[in-house]
């Protein structure tokens, strides 16, 4: 008994249940994705699934299209979100907290419901549902993820650096590009990662926003994984997505550290 007590009074062990839980439900499942990708329905080793992917033009096209949409969406979010974050972080801006909360508040409304309402709004205005609607909806859903990290870094930034630059003769434009932008880069990178990753893997929004006319990679994975016979091929597609995600988060980490 006293030995058990001793183990638990060393607080290091308190994380063990969590570590065990994570090993079981995070690490093992991720390994399983790899295992399923390299096996066929009977559980035998095969690389045919990968061969299928590289000759499956629909999958590759959808993949490239999704990445393109994600890149576009991230760029739009950055272009719209950076000025908003910059304005909110200004010293003479009176109600930054309220504004920041107002930008986050819509996220408490279920995003699918918001998407349906967006579709309805497009209908009301007589706008067609297509690529434009898709980009609008994605941007609409993920804009707060871009604004918030940028706002955070800009707000924490030491304003005396900007003043120093201006004292040394930089005009507003120069001090913005040479001082503020480089200093806000960590926020920009985490914003990019936070917008790009969910966009590239999104699967329900695209269906609703385009009346099923445009298929993104996420929907493709969903189709295959929910079909019992094609589960292994679905695992290959998930692995491809996982690689993209890994690369993105590595990029984010790397850039942020620098």
């Amino acid at each position: 008994m006293s030995k058990v007590l001793q183990i638990f009074s060393s607080r290091r062990t308190w994380a063990w249940p969590y570590v065990a839980f994570m090993a079981m439900f995070v690490v093992l499942p991720l390994i399983l994705v790899g295992v399923y990708a390299f096996t066929d329905i009977n559980g035998d080793f095969t690389i045919r699934n990968f061969a299928k992917f590289f000759t499956h033009s629909e999958a590759i096209q959808t993949f490239l299209y999704s990445v393109m949409i994600a890149v576009f969406n991230t760029a739009i979010c950055l272009l719209i979100g950076y000025p908003a974050a910059y304005i909110m972080a200004q010293e003479d801006f009176k109600t930054p907290k309220v504004m920041a909360m107002l930008f986050i508040l819509p996220m408490w409304i279920n995003f699918l419901l918001r998407t349906v309402a967006t579709v309805e709004l497009f209908n009301m205005c007589g706008l067609p549902l297509g690529e434009g609607a898709l980009l609008f909806g994605l941007c609409y859903d993920y804009l707060p993820f871009m604004i918030y990290p940028i706002y955070n870094t800009l707000q924490k930034m030491d304003n005396s650096l900007v003043e120093a630059a201006q004292d040394l003769g930089a005009n507003r434009w120069q001090s913005f590009w040479k001082v503020i932008v480089p200093l806000s880069m960590p926020g920009v990178y985490s914003g990019i990662v936070m917008v790009f990753m969910p966009t590239v893997s999104t699967f329900a929004i695209a269906e609703l926003l385009t009346h099923n006319n445009i298929k993104l990679f996420g929907s493709l994975i969903q189709d295959y994984i929910t079909t019992t016979d094609l589960l292994n091929y679905g695992a290959v597609l998930s692995l491809v997505l996982l690689i993209i995600i890994g690369l993105t988060s590595f990029f984010g980490d790397h850039e942020e550290r620098e």
Binding site: F8, S9, R11, R12, W14, A15, W16, P17, Y18, V19, F21, M22, F25, V26, L28, P29, L30, L32, V33, A84, D92, K97, V98, M99, M101, F103, L105, P106, W108, I109, N110, L112, L113, V116, A117, E120, L121, N123, M124, C125, G126, Y140, L143, M197, P198, V200, S201, F203, A204, E207, L208, G218, I221, Q222, I225, L231, A235, S238, L241, I245
Partner: protein, 456 residues
């Protein structure tokens, strides 16, 4: 000086922005019913059938038939297209429909002589109504949702706004010329500040209006009992009554309960697990702490779909039947890391020796945890708990893959399957209006409290 500066800053702009939003919402009210325009193309009935799911039976919409220059519009119940033997659309327009040769002649005459006989135009047009509806029946029609006048309203507001702004600048410039050089300089400086302020405020409010437009749509249309979102059939609180008396769709009721149960279970379990883990991680040696932190960040980096699919594969491989238990496990997986992250900062803020002191003074680890650590960690745990609740309620991707096919639906998956069927259960609108209001009130309360604390 102070007075002037206030003219266009946020406190004043509020008075412009709020009426605009109100006006936009009111314009939704004014836009009565959804209008469908039938054009010559495929048969109107079939086109409408393709447009609406059967759950919309009983709904009233406007149908406008447009042919050449004349159009008729009738408010019609959609039932006629769901009947076993759909009634031809033209029969629905009894009052004006009666095809006669005479009308055909009148139509032709009107068409050829309309330039000359403007005087008789109205009479002729009335006759022509009779004719072109026959066309609709004989020929084919295509249903298309007509462009609501909200669109024109947006454009109009933009135009008026630009004109007013331009006018204001013009007026200021005119005034400026009569001033002395010093006054001009002060004015210029003042206006530079003002204009920047004005432009950036406008930008933020514009973004917010766009961001809130779909939500305003949901909120406004929660006060009408129409099944179609965007179809106004008069003010009514029926949807709220249905929601609270359980008269809503049975699927929705069970979805609400499942969402609440799953969120509570996931939040409680992940708060306990996460707090213990945070204490453990905090006391680890640097290397193992780094490893566990990395493990902790994996579910946060993973997008929904990957977490969902990998867990789905695990449950398939283990042969577990998917249902409530698997969804709860999955939610704990993606909630716990956030709890860990919200408890860790509290730990680094507290004195690490108090726990050991308690042990030395004879407390058991459980007592030391309850009486020494919990009071310190409480705020972090609470924010972790709330975060876990929100994440769980909001989740769609993970739930979708782990809920199995046993008919378990949470709100998210319920909305998804509903939207794919084509219609949205109307009671969702009051539900989310209430959620939005609660969040808004919470935000205001927190904000007031923060400002009070800052003042102190």
């Amino acid at each position: 000086m102070r007075k002037n500066r206030n003219i266009l800053d946020i406190t004043r702009l509020r008075y412009i922005a709020i009426p605009i939003v109100l006006f936009l919402s009111l314009s939704c009210f004014a836009q009565s019913n959804v209008t469908y325009e039938l054009k010559v193309g495929t048969t109107g009935e079939n086109a409408l059938l393709a447009e609406f799911p059967e759950s919309y039976a009983g709904e009233k919409i406007n149908i406008r038939i447009q042919y050449s220059e004349v159009s008729i519009q009738n408010s019609e119940s959609l039932d006629f297209i769901f009947a076993d033997k759909p009634q031809p659309l033209a029969d629905r327009f009894d009052s004006i429909y009666s095809y006669t040769d005479e009308a055909q002649v009148a139509w032709t005459v009107w068409q050829s002589k309309k330039e000359i006989k403007n005087r008789n135009r109205r009479v002729m047009a009335q006759n022509a109504y009779k004719t072109f509806d026959g066309y609709v029946r004989m020929h084919t029609a295509e249903a298309q949702r007509s462009r609501g006048w909200i669109w024109w309203l947006f454009a109009g507001l933009l135009l008026v706004g630009t004109a007013l702004y331009g006018g204001w600048i013009f007026y200021e410039r005119r005034k400026e010329k009569s001033l002395t050089a010093v006054e001009q300089e002060t004015l210029r400086r003042k206006r530079m500040g003002l204009r920047r302020h004005y432009g950036s405020q406008l930008y933020l409010w514009l973004l917010l209006i766009i961001l809130y437009a779909p939500i305003a749509l949901i909120a406004v249309f929660s006060f009408t009992k129409s099944k179609i979102l965007g179809n106004w059939t008069g003010f009514s609180m029926d949807l709220y009554v249905n929601l609270f008396t359980g008269k809503a769709d049975a699927g929705l009721n069970s979805a609400i309960w499942y969402t609440v149960v799953i969120a509570l279970v996931a939040a409680v379990v992940s708060t306990i697990l996460g707090t213990l883990a945070a204490i453990g991680i905090y006391n680890m040696r640097a290397r193992s702490r780094k490893a566990v932190s990395l493990l902790n960040s994996v579910p946060m980096i993973n997008p929904d779909i990957i977490t969902g699919i990998s867990l789905f594969l695990l449950f398939v491989a283990l042969g577990m039947s998917q249902g409530l238990a698997t969804v709860c496990i999955a939610h704990v997986v993606f909630c716990t890391p956030y709890v860990v992250l919200s408890v860790l900062p509290r730990l680094s803020r507290m004195n690490p020796n108090t726990y050991e002191a308690a042990l030395d003074l004879g407390a058991t680890p459980a007592q030391a945890l309850r009486m020494v650590m919990l009071p310190e960690l409480w705020p972090g745990m609470l924010s972790g708990f709330i975060l876990a609740l929100t994440l769980s309620v909001d989740d769609f991707g993970v739930t979708f893959f782990t809920k199995g096919s046993g008919g378990l639906e949470t709100l998210s998956t319920f909305i998804y399957s509903d939207a794919r069927k084509g219609g949205l259960t109307p009671e969702l609108r009051p539900l989310f209006t209430i959620i939005l209001l609660v969040m808004l009130i919470a935000l205001i309360v927190i904000n007031i409290r923060n400002t009070k604390q800052e003042e102190k």
